[in-house]
């Protein structure tokens, strides 16, 4: 479970960037590179410490879906990366 007032952020040593040469976005971490799809990019761009509520609100505007419909997906995305130590909660 992710706390309702969680403030996800990318810890030092993790970088989200556009990989222009390969026309994609990647998340760079120690000895690892993850390819990120466009939904993931929108989530990770908002891992800036402002909190999961603001994040879900903004994403619902971006994707035209109700916050209650996307919150579960956002949480499970963040949890997957948190377990790997790539996102801090």
């Amino acid at each position: 479970m992710i706390a309702a007032d969680a403030k996800p952020f990318l810890p030092r040593g993790v970088r989200l960037r556009e990989d222009k040469v390969r026309s994609r976005w990647v998340l760079l971490a120690p000895e690892r590179i993850f390819e990120i799809d466009h939904i993931g990019v929108e989530i990770l761009k908002r891992c800036d410490g402002r909190g999961i509520n603001v994040m879900v609100e903004e994403l619902s505007a971006v994707f035209g879906a109700a916050p209650s419909d996307i919150r579960g997906d956002v949480e499970s995305f963040l949890k997957d990366f948190a377990v790997k130590g790539i996102v801090s909660l």
């Binding site: 030092r12 040593g13 990989d19 390969r22 990647v26 120690p30």
Partner: protein
């Protein structure tokens, strides 16, 4: 020919200078002297070109990369480009203030080598009194700054019994990853192979221990380890394939497909002083020599695993089978595989020859 995929990583040997004298040093016998090292501006240009070419992660290595006093400037330049910077260091030249400057410059990750847990033995292996204590201090500074730390535990006959205590030390230091790095026999290390190689029993025991520790410490620390080459039966896809993923740059600006590639006679290497990095990657004879699978001989040609192992390591094939186009003798299908077993059995206890700058000492 289809378009050549761009490189993803770059290993920069910023300098060959190093305060340690490890007998297992895998750098070449003859090292680049300080006078031929590239300038700050030349290195910056290499990194800018690498970024344009598609490189995402940089490994700042050596020698000891912190022996260069322009490292902060180099890191800041790379961070500005969005390149991921990994500092591969022995840690003995960096105090807290310098580490803070590297952190401020935008460094992403530190990989710190350890020689042992026992300070006396560690210092004997590294050849620098007080070195181990300095390494521990650097590890502490890195973790305190909030930078991810990986401990690289270099393992061989003289410390293979310390694997468990080294892993636990890494955990206590706050490292998130530890690499059990069995010595590879290239460059200077090849001279000491006979006294560096563990026994088969030691290698098997070490493998079992690592599996056990991985289970016990799951979620606390990631343990990376592979079976030491001479005891394996399947070769590793060296560098992810020749000219497939990684570029190696020497201190003087020579561009290599791997850091031991110069041991292969007859290859023509280009330098960034004469060619662009993109030209070297795409068109230099050395990079194209063993790219893809077309250069292979039997047993590789008709093997269904060739796409995954890529034939193993070209430099090891040359060193042990006599030809760079042969199958890596680590493969049990190689006619030279039995020779590896003999080398492993023949290894004995004995003194190691510390690293010297050149072969002629």
């Amino acid at each position: 020919m289809s378009k050549i995929a761009p490189p993803i990583g770059l290993l920069a040997e910023l300098t060959h200078r190093c305060p340690l004298q490890c007998a297992y040093c895998s750098n070449p016998l003859n090292l680049d002297r300080r006078g031929v090292e590239m300038s700050t501006e030349q290195w910056k240009s290499v990194f800018t070109q690498a970024n344009d070419l598609g490189v995402l992660q940089l490994h700042l290595s050596g020698g000891e990369p912190t022996a260069r006093n322009d490292l902060e400037e180099i890191v800041a330049h790379c961070a500005g480009l969005g390149l991921y910077t990994n500092l591969i260091t022995s840690g003995v030249l960096v105090d807290d203030a310098r580490m803070k400057r590297l952190f401020d410059a935008g460094l992403d990750h530190v990989q710190l080598s350890l020689q042992d847990v026992d300070p006396l033995n560690a210092d004997t292996i590294g050849g620098l009194k007080g070195g181990h204590a300095k390494k521990l201090a650097l590890g502490e500074a890195v973790v305190k700054l909030g930078l991810p730390l990986t401990v690289n535990a270099v393992i061989h006959r003289h410390n293979i019994g310390s694997i468990e205590t080294m892993v636990r030390l890494a955990l206590n230091m706050g490292a998130r990853r530890v690499e059990i790095a069995h010595v590879q026999y290239y460059g200077w290390a090849l001279k000491n192979r006979n006294h560096l190689m563990p026994t088969r029993e030691q290698a098997v025991e070490a493998d079992k221990l690592v599996r056990h520790l991985r289970q016990e410490l799951h979620g606390q620390i990631v343990i990376d380890s592979v079976i030491p080459d001479y005891f394996a039966r399947v070769p590793k896809p060296c560098m992810g394939g020749w000219g497939a993923r990684v570029i190696n740059v020497t201190p003087s600006g020579k561009i290599l497909p791997c850091h031991a590639a110069e041991t292969i006679p007859g290859l023509e290497f280009w330098t960034v002083k004469d060619h662009s990095l993109a030209d070297i990657w795409n068109a230099s004879p050395a990079f194209n020599a063993y790219r893809g699978l077309d250069w292979m001989e039997e047993p590789c040609v008709s093997c269904d695993k060739k796409a995954s192992c890529k034939g193993g390591c070209r430099c090891q094939a040359l060193a042990l089978a006599g030809r760079a186009t042969a199958a890596d003798p680590v493969c049990e299908l190689s006619p030279f595989h039995g020779g590896l077993e003999q080398l492993a059995v023949a290894a004995t206890d004995g003194p190691l020859m510390p690293r010297r700058i050149t072969a002629e000492t």
